[in-house]
Symmetry: C2
Subunit: 116 residues, 2 copies
Amino acid sequence: MDRGPVSMHTCDSAVSLAFTILGKRWNGMIVDALSAGPLSFAALRRSVEGISDAVLSDRLTELAEALLLTRVVEPGPPISVAYTLTPSGEQLVPLLRQLGQWATAHLPQSEEQTER
Amino acid sequence: MDRGPVSMHTCDSAVSLAFTILGKRWNGMIVDALSAGPLSFAALRRSVEGISDAVLSDRLTELAEALLLTRVVEPGPPISVAYTLTPSGEQLVPLLRQLGQWATAHLPQSEEQTER
C-alpha cells in the first residue's frame, strides 16, 4: 500500500498559493468590485452584498498585505479614504472575469442567485 | 447621500457565482488535484495537504452537487471508489493554472510556502 514519498500526485503549489487569497470568502469579489476604480469603504460594502463591516475591514487589511490593493488617503477637507487596486490586483481582474464566464456556463444557479 | 438604486457599482454576479464554489477553502485545490486523473478518497486527502477527512468529505459532496466531479464505484472485488472531474470541472483546470501563474508572479510567498 505504501506508494513511497515521491509517487503521490500533490496539489500544484502555485494553485495552492493562489487560493491562500482567493479561497477565502469575499476576496475575489472585493477585487472584482474595485475593478472599475477606487471605492470608499462604504461604497465597497454596498458593492459586495452581504459582507459585514468587520469582515470587510479584515479582508481589506489582508488584501493590502498581499499587495493587491492600497488604501489611499486624499487630503480634504473633508479627508476621504479610498481603496484602489495595485497593478498586481488589476492583473487578477481578467482571470476573475474568465472564472465568471466559466461559472455562468457550468455552475448550477441557485434560486437565490437567479432571483437577483 | 442617496445615490439611487441603479447608480451603485455592484459586484459582477457571474464572479460572485464562481466564488460560491471557489471562495471556500480547498475547493480549487481539490479540483486541481483531480486534474491528472481519478483519485481515491485517501489519495485525494494526501494530495490536498492539511485537509481533514470530515472537511474533504463535505467538499466532495458539495463539488458533486455543483456537478464538478463524480463519484465512480468500480465493482471489485475489492470494490473501489474514485472521484473524477466532470467536463465542467475539467474546464476549470486551465483557469486554475492561470491563477497559479498569477499567484507565483504577484503574491508574496510566506515562509511556510517557500519552505515546501
